[in-house]
Symmetry: C2
């Protein structure tokens, strides 16, 4: 059965989407078939892979509400071996719609249980701990947390850890924070080092050795509809995501 | 009646909290009494003003659910004239709890209708378009949108504009995006100028002339429990927020 990696952090702008896109690209380039689930109504992962707004129906909303077969919701991308379930605008209303549904936390898990032929599934979660992110955590076999090297981002970790513990207790005993990846690390700013040191002392080995540097090329890539791994494969950001994907494959023996 | 400024953008990490803290500080330093409402379960605005976690009960959750009188929920801060309704951890469950309440979009408006003695109220919204942000937009007399000078941030503006239009149509005819402030502008990155030019062509005069530069001192300030206006008043970020507050007072004739 597939490795289902939920990329979650309620703190906004920490690099969840950027990590989902580039980790997905790197693993696909290494020969694996990878499926990205864009669970964020903003649809940034869909945009980052150049899926036109006119080609996102049916997508994630239709698959979690059971309105469409999963096969109809999967799109190929410009990266060989990388596929995506895009986010349609209706996804914005899903949180309120799901509240009164029985088994409201299991909608995504149910949809993904029919997936065939993808050893790796990556879920890009929105910046909140609401029902969409809960669905991501319940469907996941492992949780990866991007941690921006800034003070406010560090503060949110305990709230996130408590939510993951709650999900493990009530819905999915595999929900564990298995990895933390430091993002937007800036050598010139000693705050980055403070946050990195704090994270390593608190989460130990779970923190990836690879650190993703702050790099202008990474922030330019989305305006070209490409992950930085394709936009500028030799940039510091792309090389770091390549190394991180290598580290993740080793942890999960993915080859 | 007070000016109630909702600072909203569902895109994460664009500078909502940083703008709320420093705008609030600058207006208070100019002699106005200002109240910040921390409507984000992350509680970053409360942390940025050094409100201890042990002193946040009762706070925003208790005031919007009517469990506590407003006076009990207001705290003084280290800035003279600046007060805050802090976010308690229970706020994280409010979105799900509010769904079945009658008039669920009006809870904050009802709570703030009893406020006396604050000509300016600033609401720091979470990074989503769920019921908490809806409550902020319904209670507001004006909406201010921080726009990070990056591609993904520009993409979310139309979704935000549609939500504000919907709120104006059904709940609050004063809900209008009156201002957009460009944040984390980086002179060395031509993407910043592209985003700025796009925003000005689309929103015209609503875009503030003052642009907030990306500045390390801004990101260091929260770890000292102070807005950058107090932490380093001569830094580029602090000076820019001072100018922006001046521009805002002129627009609303606040003096
Ligand atoms: N290593 C990096 N260097 C520079 N910019 C980066 C880096 N990683 C991400 N960014 C940029 O920072 C912004 C935030 O990143 P991203 O959108 O991936 O975060 P997110 O956690 O998915 O945000 P949200 O909480 O809104 O979903 C984006 O504009 C992105 O291009
Ligand atoms: N002008 C700036 N220069 C450098 N760093 C900044 C600037 N403005 C904000 N930051 C930093 O960027 C991060 C995001 O800012 P902030 O938390 O204010 O955004 P937000 O929109 O409130 O985030 P969220 O969506 O999680 O609520 C913080 O770590 C903050 O310290
Ligand atoms: Mg994202
Ligand atoms: Mg914030």
């Amino acid at each position: 059965s597939p490795h289902i990696i939920a990329i979650a952090n309620q703190k906004g702008g920490v690099g969840k989407t950027t990590t989902a896109l580039n980790l997905g690209t790197a693993l696909a380039q290494s020969g694996l078939r990878v499926l990205i689930v864009d669970l964020d109504p903003q649809g940034n992962a869909s945009t980052g892979l150049d899926i036109p707004r006119s080609d996102r129906q049916p997508g994630c909303y239709n698959s979690i509400t059971g309105r469409a077969e999963l096969d109809e919701c999967i799109r190929a991308t410009q990266v060989e071996g990388l596929f995506i379930i895009p986010a349609e605008p209706d996804l914005a209303g899903a949180e309120i719609e799901l509240v009164d549904q029985p088994n409201r936390e299991f909608c995504l898990q149910r949809a993904l249980s029919h997936v065939q032929g993808f050893p790796v599934i990556i879920i890009d979660c929105p910046p909140s701990l609401g029902l969409l992110t809960l669905n991501g955590l319940v469907a996941a076999t492992t949780v990866l947390v991007p941690l921006q090297c800034e003070f406010f981002a560090l503060e949110g970790l305990s709230q996130l850890a408590q939510t993951v513990d709650r999900v493990r207790g009530s819905f999915n005993q595999r929900a564990v924070i298995e990895g933390i990846v430091l993002t937007m690390y800036d050598r010139r700013n000693n705050l980055s080092e403070l946050v990195a040191a704090d994270a390593r002392s608190f989460f130990g080995q779970r923190v990836y050795e690879t650190v993703i540097p702050r790099s202008v090329r990474v922030s330019e890539a989305p305006s070209h509809g490409k992950p930085v791994m394709l936009y500028d494969p030799r940039s510091a950001g792309a090389l770091a995501y390549g190394k991180m994907a290598q580290e993740l494959s080793d942890r999960f023996h993915l080859r």
